[in-house]
Symmetry: C2
Subunit: 370 residues, 2 copies
């Protein structure tokens, strides 16, 4: 039987409770769809700082290295905000993980399910049918470019940040985006600001070259300011959006707003191999931690993403996504998206419904002889 080893890094805030209720779902799906998962838990984030003094202890990194994927909860919280920036949970855990495993592409699928179209702030006729994927370059650009700093001048201070990209950094993430577009609606929009940025000109040139290897994919270009407007006016026009780091950061949060809640959205950070880190799009939300009210959908869908991208277990991934939709269709909601006649569920109850639905759907399919 195919076996996949998963490093489980639950972290802080709502991370542990989301991960805890999701693991049984993943295990069930793997069992039904004929593969085995070996979960290895490890400390990360503030929890790891408390226990070991480090946000990413060496043992955790070892466990990740043995695994084929990292299933991540969330990190961060008020009590660690006073630490120096480089020791804070987010920076001291996620950045080294991305670096160690060369996770240069962040994937953020945004789907407005008809079942929860009312969660979107957009009118239903505009949100309906949204199914886009933001591919964000994650390890380059203005967040990391040197020089970066502040100098005293005669009149005050001067601050400098550098937006820097090499051809190779663009090539590798563009290749990921084109490969994903092939498996979707075969449309890719490069988001840039080529009318004013030199880096955008290099992105356009490089992406056009990569496009030669993917003649089936329809390549378009759009300025980032226009894209920010189009995402609101007509989000269904997009399939895959390829963005440099900062633009992807901004647009993926805007797109999350369009879906209505970060609690619905999964996220993957991947590289050139099949290894990946899977996590909810939202944060550790310490204010609602431990109350059993957090929405587990983002964590559950992160598991589906892991099945899809790291394990190529597409059937099991689809089974999870279908089950989430079916449970929503039956009217069950966690508090953050409960409206009108919805049946309110706790985190655990919702996850349990999803597990039941996976099993029911599987049996139904089997009886139908498919």
């Amino acid at each position: 039987m195919k076996t996949y080893r998963v490093a489980v890094l639950a972290g802080d805030g709502i991370g542990p409770e989301l991960v805890r209720v999701t693991i049984p779902i993943l295990r069930l799906a793997s069992y039904l769809y004929g593969f085995e998962l070996i979960f290895e838990e490890a400390l990360v984030g503030g929890t790891a700082i408390e226990a070991t003094g480090k946000a990413l202890p060496p043992e955790t990194l070892e466990i990740c290295k043995r695994a084929q994927a990292i299933f991540f909860g969330a990190v961060g919280g008020k009590q660690w905000e006073s630490l120096p920036p480089e020791k804070q949970p987010e920076r001291a855990a996620l950045l080294p993980l991305r670096k160690t495993f060369s996770l240069f592409a962040n994937l953020r699928p945004i789907t407005c399910y008809p079942e929860i179209i009312d969660a979107s702030p957009l009118k239903p006729e505009i949100a309906s049918g949204v199914d886009l994927l933001i591919v964000r370059e994650l390890t380059g650009g203005i967040y990391f470019g040197q020089p970066k700093g502040r100098v005293l001048t005669e009149q005050g201070e001067r601050a400098i940040d550098t937006l820097l990209y090499d051809t190779s950094e663009i090539e590798r993430v563009a290749t990921v985006a084109f490969e994903l577009a092939l498996r979707r609606k075969k449309s890719l929009t490069l988001i840039d600001k080529a009318n004013v940025l030199e880096s955008s000109l290099l992105w356009r040139k490089t992406v056009k070259e990569i496009a030669n290897n993917y003649p089936e994919v329809d390549l378009k270009f759009m300025y980032v300011d226009n894209a920010a407007m189009q995402l609101v006016l007509k989000p269904t026009q997009f399939d895959v959006l390829l963005c440099e780091n900062l633009f992807g950061d901004i647009l993926s949060d805007e797109a999350a707003g369009i879906a209505g809640s970060l609690g619905l959205l999964a996220s993957a950070s991947i590289g050139a191999s099949k290894f990946g880190l899977y996590e909810p799009a939202g944060g550790s939300a310490p204010d609602i931690a431990g109350k059993g009210i957090a929405n587990p959908i983002s964590q559950i869908l992160s598991g589906a993403l892991m099945f899809e991208y790291s394990f190529q277990e597409e059937e099991a991934a689809q089974a999870i996504k279908d089950a989430v939709r079916d449970v929503l269709k039956e009217g069950y909601r966690t508090m953050d998206i409960a409206k009108g006649s919805a049946t309110y569920c706790t985190t655990e109850e919702f996850a349990e419904k999803v597990a039941q639905k996976i099993e029911i759907n599987f049996k139904k399919k089997k009886q139908e002889g498919s």
Copy 2:
């Protein structure tokens, strides 16, 4: 009688027709509210290239220098897109104007009038009450910072853009933003990315210092990615948003999307003095030029902005804004926003309705003895 001299630069595409129908409105309002306008027309953009070889001829610049404000239409069109970038209408006309007159602050007011709430892609309950002002730094930041360019490397190319700000550039635009906040709901949100950008740290520090002069203004901070999400989820939480150049470019177009159409939005570029350039937020839209279908609201409201900021003629400005709302309330619409039972108007008809309404409202007020 107070007299204001206005340089009228109608430009290309729909610019001339929008400006042509708006001038009588401005003249009427000035007459009713007791001041005089002297309009001087001048060539700009592609039209000026055709006539003189230059997008901003010296005579045009002279006319602008004699004036207290520039009333601008739009520039650009397909026929000039093959020119080298620095000769194209937008870059060769607007950039030197901004530079000559030190127009470092771009103002973009976004209001979702109840009368045209259906133009917004957001649900009415979310768009209703939106009344925000984006103050964008216009002459610094990553669009202009040096070094900027591309170099060959062993593996390919490297592209570099530099995001650079001096204290003084931040101080002057922050002062403008605080002054405007004082005249509004006294709430100012600085949009930045202070968790990763050095320039954002300098913005925070400088803006906090300026805030000491404005104790009545409530100052908040928000990361640009979160702001992109919050604008969609709950746009009514904002009053004045202060942004560095790139962030302001992106968020002002997103906010325009929220209003539903660039055709509704005015824009002002101002400096430390009262001199300003006023223009519609949309472009020259050559595809609809000359058809009489363009929406004149953005041009008309740009006139109101000019009255307000450059001439301090607030009563006349308010009269124009009220008239636009009243005409919308009566169901008149240009094609771009006509829906349902609306009465369709041409550009000229709509403007004529606004003029009539200004006169009617003025007489009514007078009779009421106010």
